[in-house]
């Protein structure tokens, strides 16, 4: 017995020694020489990049694995409150995270499901709203909790999001946080009814998003004007619905006359969705947004009372004029990272906008470009990382979406923005089915190296390369463009000389999502015999075909042509039939090859 006891003691001593040796070894590890604040910094990145959703609510967050590595790591993780500021809404974790975050500012995200346990947790966590930096409430029937939000001030609250997914929650009779949110910067209200004079719209706001409000809660023009005038620091404004309705009898003069515009010098993102273009014009004409980078305007109807077939009914023309006026002020790239630059944009993209009629236009500096497998959206199958982005997205139903108005906005955007150095262009818009548009928009962009064209725009490109559209007859859009340029953009050359060549420096052309059978002779034949050379593509060396349909006989003809090119035939065929891209080196296979 005594011997066993002695052995136990010996084992304990050995274990103790082993532990001491391990700790000594750890103290010599390089990571142990890193200061604790850096270690906490590493943990915060690890936490941010780890999945925040555990497999089950009882499981700990995945980042807590670091607390099991060694004593020092655990000590650091437990002693830095900033690592515990995301409050976990679970009975096992709520009190732990509230305690471990000590007095640090916390982020509360609440999904309201309605079960009794959750309700109690919500009440508990809302008791700590006094040190909340971020509060996001999302769910069904939030009304019972509104009173909990009115008990104490929220002196540190920077972000408040309330999303009601059932009946609108009324905030009208309540003064949220006793009207004291001195640091509130981001406010998002969805499915809420509220007073437009509420102190929650405080002057510190930089982000405001309101959507899904009841018709009765739509502000009057003066209410909206008062709100915007009280928010001089706004950077991001999204109003999806709360746009004052204007009478059908309103004229452009009556809409735009009364006040000098409200200057919003910091606004970078503006999204307005209203009932009619006329209503949007009512808002747009009241604001000045010289540094806007993203402009998204959409409406449900044309707002034209005549119902006539004219492609540019008055309200639509007003809207186009209004955009022209704004584009004049948005004529230089605005860097999001605060670096001032006079450089132009390097890439532009034209694509369908919204879900109905309309278009989107993006200009920026494309830093990265690589292909993904998103074959449903060919243009988006290129992953692009944009710097200095300017994004214009317009979407209207009815007359306002007419070809004439869209075309004019395209032209004004291209004439106003510094696009002289553009080297990459993406076109996925039916507006470019017309060859004239290619000459007008791209005629002066002489440095384009990469071009991606999708769908019917390919027809327009091929026609333009045959020389069509270069000297087109004057159209309604030309007249409107000239009128607007005279009025708003006198510095723009209305009728510049049409260039001789289109894309003279283009080296890489990608054609996507077209029926190659229909265009086979035009495209491949044109490239083969270099008949395009007369009008452009003088330096083309690579052709990529993606997601194109092609018949067997065309494949045979291509095979004959490619037999000299060294292109792997099987790979080429599978690429055409499937969705993979196929590259053709023109300098190898197409020079003068007849088929």
């Amino acid at each position: 017995m005594a011997k066993r006891s002695a052995l136990d003691k010996q084992i304990a001593r050995a274990e103790h020694e082993l532990l001491a040796l391990r700790r000594l070894k750890n103290s010599h590890a390089f990571i142990s020489r890193v200061p604790v604040e850096i270690l906490a910094h590493i943990f915060s990145f690890f936490k941010a990049s780890s999945s925040s959703i555990p497999h089950s609510p009882c499981d700990p967050p995945t980042w807590l694995a670091v607390t099991h590595v060694c004593q020092r790591w655990r000590h650091v993780a437990l002693s830095f409150p900033s690592l515990w500021t995301d409050i976990l809404m679970h009975k096992h974790w709520l009190s732990e995270t509230l305690t471990r975050s000590k007095r640090a500012l916390i982020c509360i995200h609440i999904d309201v499901y309605g079960d009794a346990e959750t309700l109690q947790l919500i009440r508990t966590v809302l008791g700590s709203v006094g040190r909340a930096k971020e509060l996001v409430m999302n769910g069904l029937n939030l009304s019972p909790y509104v009173e909990d939000l009115c008990r104490e001030p929220a002196p540190f609250l920077e972000t408040l999001e309330i999303t009601e997914r059932s009946w609108p929650v009324s905030l009208k009779e309540h003064e949220l946080f006793l009207g004291k949110t001195p640091r509130l910067r981001r406010l998002s209200l969805r499915g809420c009814s509220f007073s437009w004079a509420s102190p929650i719209f405080c002057s510190t706001l930089t982000h405001l998003a309101i959507c899904d409000i009841e018709t009765a809660n739509i502000p009057t023009p003066s209410e909206l004007r008062d709100i915007l005038a009280a928010l001089p620091d706004l950077r991001h404004l999204a109003l999806n619905g709360p746009i004052p309705r204007l009478s059908h009898k309103a004229t452009m003069k009556s809409v735009t006359k009364c006040h000098s515009p409200i200057f919003l010098p910091h606004l970078r993102f503006l999204h307005l969705r209203g009932h009619a273009p006329r209503d949007l014009l009512g808002v747009m004409s009241q604001i000045s947004i010289p540094h806007c980078e993203v402009l998204r305007l959409s409406s449900g109807t044309s707002g034209s009372s005549s119902g006539g077939s004219s492609s540019s009914a008055p309200p639509a023309r007003w809207m186009t004029a209004c955009i022209a006026g704004h584009l004049k002020t948005i004529s230089s790239p605005n860097s999001q990272n605060g670096r001032n630059t006079t450089d132009g944009y390097r890439a532009i993209a034209f694509s369908p906008g919204g879900h109905k009629r309309g278009f989107a236009f993006v200009a920026g500096t494309c830093r990265q470009l690589y292909e993904t497998n998103d074959t449903d959206h060919p243009l988006h199958s290129y992953h692009m990382v944009w710097d200095d982005k300017f994004y214009l997205d317009l979407c209207w139903e009815g007359h306002a979406a007419s070809r004439c108005n869209m075309e004019v906005v395209f032209r004004i955007a291209c004439a106003s923005l510094p696009l002289h150095d553009v080297d990459t262009v993406f076109v996925d818009s039916d507006f470019f089915r017309e060859p004239k548009m290619w000459w007008i928009v791209f005629g002066r962009m002489a440095h384009v190296k990469r071009l991606v064209v999708t769908g019917y725009a390919v027809d327009g490109l091929l026609a333009a390369l045959r020389g069509e559209g270069r000297q087109a007859e004057s159209s309604e859009s030309d007249a409107l463009f000239e009128t607007l340029v005279k009025k708003y953009l006198p510095e723009i050359d209305e009728a510049p000389a049409m260039p001789q060549h289109l894309f003279p420096e283009l080296s890489q052309l990608t054609v996507e999502g077209v029926d190659l059978n229909r265009l086979f002779d035009d495209l491949i034949g044109g490239l083969c015999f270099r008949s395009f050379k007369k009008n452009g593509l003088k330096r083309l060396s690579r052709l990529y075909l993606r997601s194109c349909n092609v018949r067997y006989e065309h494949l045979v003809r291509l095979a004959g042509c490619l037999s000299h090119s060294g292109v792997d035939w099987d790979e080429f065929r599978s690429g055409l039939i499937g969705h993979e891209s196929v590259a053709i080196k023109l300098e190898d296979g197409f020079r003068g090859q007849r088929f």
Binding site: L19, N26, A29, A48, P61, A65, Q71, R74, R339
Partner: protein, 173 residues
């Protein structure tokens, strides 16, 4: 605190428009660098302010090797004149944004070198570089088990059996 030694103007020709600084590494290598390049370092900026107060120019002795110092200078040179959000005192806490592409290549070094750079960046108070290194280390251990993390960073399990199962560890996963 860094050791500061006086230098004469012939060593540091900094009277022109682009003033030069003399940095001395722990292996006693003298590296002359434009002040503008190192302005991203709050530590260096504070030192330079001190020089201006005393109207005397000095070499700045730094407690890390020339190899590490050169890496830091390379980083600062690359981002010379750039605004980096992380260096802004009012910047938001670290988010999910990935390591910048150039930083990724720049930090493609062995583990110990990475830790040396982060220590140097911390010493020099270059928040953006500390952030990029911390991200890179966090990426190294992401998705790994506790055992794998220990192996990667060369640490041992030094918990006592009691600590492994103590109530305080219950909620740490």
């Amino acid at each position: 605190m860094p050791t500061i030694v006086s230098v004469d103007d012939s060593t540091v020709p900094g009277e022109g428009s682009s003033r030069l600084l003399l940095l001395v590494s722990s292996d006693n290598k003298h590296i002359v660098v434009e002040e503008d390049i190192m302005s991203r370092s709050r530590f260096i900026s504070k030192q330079v302010e001190g020089f201006e107060a005393t109207s005397q120019r000095h070499a700045i002795l730094l407690p890390f090797s020339s190899f590490v110092l050169n890496k830091v200078i390379e980083y600062c040179s690359h981002y010379r004149g750039y605004y980096l959000l992380e260096d802004d005192p009012d910047a938001a806490p670290p988010g999910r944004s990935p390591v910048r592409e150039w930083d990724q290549e720049f930090l493609d070094v062995d583990r110990n070198m990475l830790l040396r750079i982060i220590k140097a960046a911390h010493y020099l108070e270059i928040k953006s570089l500390v952030g990029s290194c911390a991200r890179a280390i966090a990426d190294m251990i992401r998705g790994k088990t506790t055992e794998e993390m220990r192996e990667i960073l060369g640490v041992e399990n030094d918990f006592t059996p009691e600590e492994e199962h103590s109530p305080s560890s219950k909620c740490t996963g």
